[in-house]
Symmetry: C2
């Protein structure tokens, strides 16, 4: 795993809000571990299309600074449109609502990463298997090893796209509002509401057999 | 508020996973009320850029089927790039992790809307004020009315973009996995982990005066 600082290129350089810029790649990897959904942007028919998707990261993947993987049906139009083009993968976690003392200083607490790179279709069978396992394990760590191998038909129906993690930027905000001194002096209340994701107890299918597996129990407890 | 069904155009017609397609516009409005963050896709420098953003909806806004608003600094590059171009605004709520009995049938429960439309800079002062108030109230309902009016300087620094809600599609999934009968027969456990967002108690700034306002208390309780 290489350690190029974040924002290595002009198009991944943070413009506005540089005070919220993150340069440490370990912080990026922490966000990519916490987050469950990515938003993938592709250009289709001359306009942008943004779709939510599961994803996974291999910090030691074959691309510079590691590889981010998404998958989809081989029949999906967005996937064909994305192949060998520059895509944008954005991962955001909302951490709070910031109640400023003016409309202007309302904000949100968040961590958000933007990855820009050329989407490569993963052809190598070993990399594909590994990527699909990582995507399952990103949802429920440890689960991939408990499942039967994918069938040839399943693998043939699934495409995996790889995006290099090299061109990435990240911003983060936390804490309360940054207000105008005169609004603070005017004694308007200011603060923030922390927000987080929780899981409820796992729900077994009606025809599920046996206890809830340890990996599922652990995942629910860790969200 | 008009009631065109969702997916009114080819580019907002759901391709894969039509069984998860939503056509009822009221369901879309429910999602847009629940969600706090949108992902805005624009084409910048020939490639897609996806950024997280606050947003608000005016179901009775001036555009066909209502208006979605986002705002940003007038100096932001993405905002200039988006103006008068076709953008994509995607809003996703994660509702659960689906532990299928095979890697292939792992999935997520979610609600996600994709809005495609031409981004219009809001010039009309009344519409701008209203949109900015809606964005504050979308974060914390009722708060806009408790704040001083925005200053001319604040308004001059803020651009508001409007996107028509007409060209929208939505997909939703809930419940457990849809597995192969042979995997169910093989007695592998299957089920799902419900996921939701919660708020912790509001945190007052060190120099905040008085009680936490009722709107902030209500918002924290409603998340």
């Amino acid at each position: 795993m290489t350690t190029t600082p974040l924002s290595p290129t002009p198009r991944t350089t943070v413009g506005r809000g540089r005070n919220r810029m993150v340069v440490d790649r370990e912080v990026l990897h922490g966000l990519l571990e916490d987050a469950l959904v990515a938003h993938l942007g592709v250009v289709v028919g001359g306009h942008p299309l943004v779709l939510p998707t599961a994803f996974a990261v291999d910090p030691d993947g074959p691309d510079e600074d590691g590889t981010l993987y998404v998958h989809g049906s081989v029949a999906a139009g967005w996937l064909r449109a994305a192949t060998d083009t520059t895509v944008c993968v954005t991962v955001t976690e909302l951490d709070g609502l910031v109640a400023g003392r003016s409309a202007f200083h309302h904000s949100m607490n968040y961590r958000s990463a933007v990855v820009i790179g050329r989407a490569r279709v993963v052809d190598d069978p070993d990399e594909r298997q590994r990527a699909l396992g990582l995507i399952v394990d990103h949802m429920i760590p440890g689960r991939a090893a408990t499942l039967r191998p994918s069938t040839g038909k399943e693998l043939a129906a699934t495409a995996v796209l790889a995006v290099p993690l090299h061109e990435a930027s990240m911003k983060a905000r936390d804490g309360g509002p940054v207000d105008e001194p005169e609004d603070v002096a005017a004694a308007v209340w200011g603060g923030h509401i922390p927000v987080r994701r929780v899981a409820d107890a796992p729900v077994a299918d009606a025809d599920a057999v046996g206890e809830v597996p340890a990996d599922v129990v652990r995942r629910a407890a860790s969200l």
